[in-house]
């Protein structure tokens, strides 16, 4: 009795037996794409960051720029106070642990302190998350979370408000550049996030906060 795998592969080979079409190489095409892509890519890191900010704001996210490392916790404290937040969920990243350590009057819930399945319900009860994005993509205003550094994505997705810290220098021009330089292992488990969750499934009316965060704030640090 043939397995489904054998049947499928046999059918494919039989179907392709008449001829397997060849496609000419893409050298010229790739060059054309490269040239045109370059023509719309900012040439300095500052311009890239500005583009990142523009795109982020277009997808209804906030961008907060912090000039000096000293002000990070302060800014975060103020932001949380304005939002009347007294409890936050955080990811495992060293930077996040550091900047949240000194927050006053805020209960910090580190997702990885909880085992699964308890982690699910615990984080789901918390409204605000503070997490770290290891990369940003300028031309779409996206941030990138790699599982093997965050060790969780529950704060990023279960809480209503995601506050994302990102280093300005880690913002890359576009997905082509990102993937070109990405470690294959790291690339296997990651997620690109572009603004808050949304849907237009009812009469094409855009509504934010479908199943994921309703509010996204990105804090760009040196």
């Amino acid at each position: 009795m043939k397995s489904d795998k054998e049947i499928i592969l046999e059918n494919i080979r039989k179907s392709l037996s008449s001829s397997r079409n060849e496609v000419a190489n893409d050298l010229q095409l790739d060059n054309e794409i490269k040239e045109k892509l370059n023509s719309v890519t900012p040439s300095t890191q500052n311009e890239l960051i500005r583009q990142f900010q523009n795109e982020l704001e277009k997808v209804d996210a906030e961008f907060i720029n912090i000039e000096s490392n000293e002000n990070i916790s302060q800014t975060l404290q103020r932001l949380l106070q304005d939002g009347v937040v007294n409890e936050i969920a955080i990811s495992d990243d060293e930077l996040i642990c550091t900047i949240t350590e000194s927050l006053a009057d805020i209960t910090i819930v580190k997702a990885t302190d909880y085992e699964y399945p308890e982690r699910k319900s615990k984080i789901s009860q918390i409204n605000t998350a503070v997490v770290f994005a290891e990369n940003g993509i300028a031309d779409t205003g996206s941030v990138v979370f790699y599982y093997n550094t965050t060790n969780t994505t529950y704060p990023h997705f279960l809480c209503d408000w995601t506050i994302i810290a990102i280093k300005r220098d880690s913002i890359i021009a576009n997905q082509f550049e990102l993937i070109k330089n990405l470690d294959l292992e790291k690339a296997k488990n990651m997620v690109f996030v572009t603004g808050p969750s949304r849907t237009a499934d009812i009469e094409k009316t855009l509504v934010l906060g479908a199943h994921g965060p309703r509010r996204v704030s990105v804090i760009a640090i040196p």
Partner: protein, 467 residues
């Protein structure tokens, strides 16, 4: 759940055209999608090059699909992903039911996957006593209404907000509201609870990456992320044509997908799954299963030109641009896939008998080809499929005889000239200088009368007068 068949197209179309609310909803949604798409594309100067590039990439994969699938499987296994192969829908359902029973699954959450609709998965799960909930808002609405999606991207496109309001009041017992924000809140709360309780998450996948043994799920709502990261088991149902060679290929497709599907520069979430996360990260699935589904795709490969139709990334742009879809909506096509791509795949998946009307739901206007991000020459393929339907004897006998006669006469000028005088003569009997009422041309849209002279005689007269 209604059993769809494209053999019901004639009846479906009549119903659709009579539904003025449907017409309004579909026209508005497709127009707004088209506008957004055009706006984003105007900012991408290498759009046409992207289309050709992805057509090339898909062509290489499709023409070597066996090798790519084997590579994908090998690399998935190395990542700890369990790979299954399903030659048809029966096999696919059995595989998934077995995974569910092996793991004592009682509650399932699903993210949007038309492939799972194609294999009639939900009914099978529910019949086996497993609670199965669609979590994408549009799919959730359609599931509550016990209907099937009417668009590839916007499942409940055919419903107004009032329709949804009434539905929620009826099925969920809430006080009536038609405010989308409020309706979403109700759905979000209900579904969040289900996410936390579910034993298994079932998703589809947009791209299955052979080189890395990982796959991608693209979405806007975050429901897919929760589907794949909360329950202890994740099952991804993936059509064998979803393969792309490597990570480097992916950005070309992502750059085309969001503008074409939703008029966004990027979808909100691009999820990459490369193995069960529980072992490494302490949360999420302890097992990830991939079910590779054939269900007719390998047969599509037989025709060297039609093979290209497997390159579809299910963006829905062709639907939005199609004047026929705009006027009849998705249900009329009688199958899980609708619009120009649906009309193209139906005869190939279901056969020329069951889908004998499908490729004719089309004026051959060519808009679909213009907007297809992968540059699939849909009008060309629809013509090929019409020819197959004719050759298989599935067109009306009367028409077939008529066409053969037409062919005979129109290649014999003297006979043609003789026979074309008949309508002129016959017409002189009709009063008021009117014309014949023929099929398609009745009172709503009368034909002009046959000219008494015709061009040739008028031209000769013209020349004579000049002299």
């Amino acid at each position: 759940m209604q059993k769809l068949s494209p053999l019901n197209i004639k009846k479906n179309v009549t119903e659709a055209l009579a539904d003025k609310n449907l017409q309004k909803a579909v026209l508005n949604a497709t127009a707004s999608s088209q506008d957004s798409r055009e706006h984003i594309i105007s900012e991408i100067p290498y759009w046409e090059e992207l289309r050709q590039k992805t057509n090339n990439i898909k062509s290489r994969v499709i023409n070597n699909l066996d090798t790519f699938l084997e590579t994908f499987e090998t690399n998935c296994k190395e990542n700890g992903i369990i790979v299954h192969w399903a030659s048809d829908d029966v096999s696919a359902r059995n595989i998934i039911l077995k995974i569910a029973s092996d793991n004592d699954v009682k509650k399932i959450v699903k993210s949007k996957s038309l492939t799972t609709e194609e294999i009639f998965l939900n009914d099978a799960l529910i019949e086996n006593g497993i609670e199965t909930l669609e979590t994408d808002l549009g799919e959730y609405i359609v599931q509550l209404k016990e209907e099937v999606p009417s668009h590839l991207i916007i499942p409940a496109l055919h419903l107004s907000k009032e329709d949804v309001g009434e539905l929620f009041t009826e099925k969920l017992g809430i006080e009536y509201t038609s405010v989308p924000e409020e309706l979403l809140q109700v759905a979000r709360k209900n579904i969040r609870q289900k996410f936390l309780e579910a034993d298994m998450g079932i998703s589809g996948s947009n791209f299955a990456i052979a080189e890395s043994g990982s796959f991608v799920v693209v979405e806007n709502e975050a429901n897919a992320h929760l589907t794949i990261s909360l329950p202890k088991i994740h099952v991804a149902v993936i059509g064998i044509e979803k393969i792309i060679p490597d990570m480097e290929s992916l950005p070309y497709f992502l750059k085309l997908l969001a503008p074409s599907a939703t008029g966004q520069k990027s979808s909100t979430y691009v999820n990459f799954i490369g193995g069960p996360s529980r072992g490494e990260y302490g949360e999420g699935p302890e097992k990830v299963h991939v079910v590779l589904v054939d269900n007719g795709r390998s047969k599509v490969l037989q025709n060297e030109q039609l093979r290209e139709t497997l390159a579809c990334i299910r963006c829905g742009a062709c639907l939005n641009s199609c004047p026929v879809y705009q006027h009849i909506g998705g249900h009329a096509y009688g199958w899980v896939y609708m619009g120009p791509i649906g009309a193209t795949l139906a005869p190939q998946f279901l056969g020329t008998h069951e889908a004998k009307y499908s490729p004719y739901l089309c004026t051959l206007c060519g808009e679909c080809y213009k907007v297809c991000p992968i540059k699939i020459n849909l009008p060309e393929h629809l013509l090929t499929l019409r020819n197959q339907i004719v050759k298989d004897g599935e067109t009306a006998k009367v028409e077939s005889i008529g066409m053969k006669t037409f062919s005979y006469v129109a290649s014999r000028p003297k006979l043609y000239n003789l026979l074309t005088t008949i309508p002129v003569v016959a017409q002189s009997i009709i009063p008021d200088g009117k014309s014949f009422s023929v099929p398609g041309y009745g009172n709503e849209r009368p034909l002009p009368p046959f000219d008494k002279l015709g061009f040739k005689k008028r031209f000769e007269k013209e020349k004579k007068n000049e002299k």
